[in-house]
């Protein structure tokens, strides 16, 4: 699963990703780079790939603040989204993202950043299990997710997650 994600990220940047293995000890992906050194962890690898790519277009954040914020969301992704224990943990993660996105179009700044990409890939499997009710409950997150999956180059071979076109449940269900 993680391997796929790294392939997707490298495809997004139009580079080959090289040799990806799974670190047995920590169960995290591990990328072997040119001189034999290893880069470990999904966020680290993603950043490595993004920095190695020529056309960055502010993918790591346009300003210094944005870059710091991107790092913060990558951290959020690895520490919260990838390591949730119970359904309750997951719903608190989704709730947090939802309320954060209520005032924003993208996670950081005003264009797609690495934070959006990684969050999207991380949430894809979560979203494929969500009910329509939950999708509407996390309306702001869903809006962002829907935009991301239709942003060119992002979704790639992943399944398109269906969303309802009209609000089908009473509005008070939206979590803020």
């Amino acid at each position: 699963m993680w391997k796929n994600e790294i392939f997707q990220i490298s495809r997004y940047f139009g580079v080959s990703c090289g040799n990806v293995t799974l670190d047995e000890q920590f169960r995290i992906p591990c990328l072997t780079v040119k001189d034999g050194n290893k880069v470990k962890g999904i966020a680290t690898i993603a950043k490595y790939i993004a920095k190695n790519c020529k056309q960055q277009n502010g993918i790591l954040g346009a300003s210094l603040e944005d870059q710091a914020n991107v790092d913060q969301w990558l951290e959020f992704r690895s520490s919260r989204l990838d390591r949730y224990g119970t359904e309750k943990d997951l719903s608190s993660v989704l709730k947090e993202l939802n309320s954060y996105l209520s005032s924003r179009t993208f996670l950081v700044g005003s264009s797609v950043t690495l934070a959006d990409l990684l969050m999207f890939y991380g949430l894809h499997s979560v979203y494929s299990d969500l009910s329509y009710f939950d999708k509407q409950r996390y309306m702001h997150l869903s809006r962002w997710f829907r935009m991301m999956q239709l942003t060119s180059g992002v979704k790639q071979k992943l399944e398109t997650i269906p969303f309802q076109r009209n609000l089908i449940y009473p509005c008070h269900g939206v979590a803020h």
């Binding site: 005003s110 309306m139 239709l150 060119s152 180059g153 398109t160 269906p162 076109r165």
Partner: protein
């Protein structure tokens, strides 16, 4: 219908509701539609209209790039809630909007690919469905047919019952069961296709032999 007057509170509310599950006015990338609505606003929406505010801030962040957005400007009333009800604006996958290219070219290829795959799947499914006859729901019914008295000719009763013919009805085995006082009832099984034969039909037909049959009961009814 559109948003109405975007300088009024009602218009802003409509815009806010509209943007609840959308990032842009049309599609999933900024277009001239966003610029038209943006320019129609008198200023920053208030903070309780957070959807509208979020969108406003986002569009404002493009500053001078706004003129470079794709699409053509239409009248303000062309955008908004009723426009969203038309398939062009609401569709996630099919980019059927005639003048606005919402997605990059490779996305379209993906879509075509998807469409082809989908079509292939549907064709395969139809072919499979065509070969296999539709499953017919059948039931096994056991009937108790009671005569008037011990002098009734049960052989004749059975003969008459078996003579009832209908599409989807097959008679099975039968036996005579003693009820008492020398009276015997006829127990007969049959298999019916649910769609074609009902117990009402059976009861009507069998009770039709008034001089022989006193009553008829369904002893058992099993779906096959």
């Amino acid at each position: 219908m559109g948003f109405g007057d975007l300088k009024s509170a009602a218009g802003l509310k409509a815009l806010d509701d509209f943007l609840g599950d959308r990032s842009y006015i049309v599609g999933y990338t900024p277009t001239q539609a966003d610029v038209v609505v943006f320019e129609a606003l008198s200023g920053t929406p208030s903070s309780d209209l957070y959807n509208a505010l979020r969108w406003y801030n986002h569009i404002a962040s493009y500053a001078s790039q706004k003129s470079g957005f794709p699409g053509e400007k239409k009248a303000l009333s062309e955008y908004g809630p009723s426009a969203a009800a038309t398939p062009a604006a609401a569709n996630d996958d099919e980019d059927s909007d005639d003048d606005i290219d919402l997605f990059g070219s490779d996305e379209e290829e993906d879509d075509e690919d998807m469409q082809k795959k989908k079509q292939a799947l549907v064709d395969a499914y139809n072919a499979k469905k065509g070969k296999k006859p539709a499953l017919i729901a059948k039931s096994m019914i056991i009937l108790d047919v009671k005569p008037w008295d011990d002098e009734t000719d049960m052989a004749l009763v059975e003969k008459k019952v078996r003579a009832i013919e209908k599409d989807g009805l097959v008679w099975g085995t039968s036996k005579l069961i003693a009820v008492g006082y020398g009276i015997k009832k006829l127990q007969i099984s049959c298999v019916v296709e649910d769609a074609k034969v009902g117990t009402d039909f059976l009861e009507e037909s069998i009770c039709g032999f008034e001089d022989l049959v006193q009553s008829m009961d369904v002893a058992a009814f099993n779906k096959l």
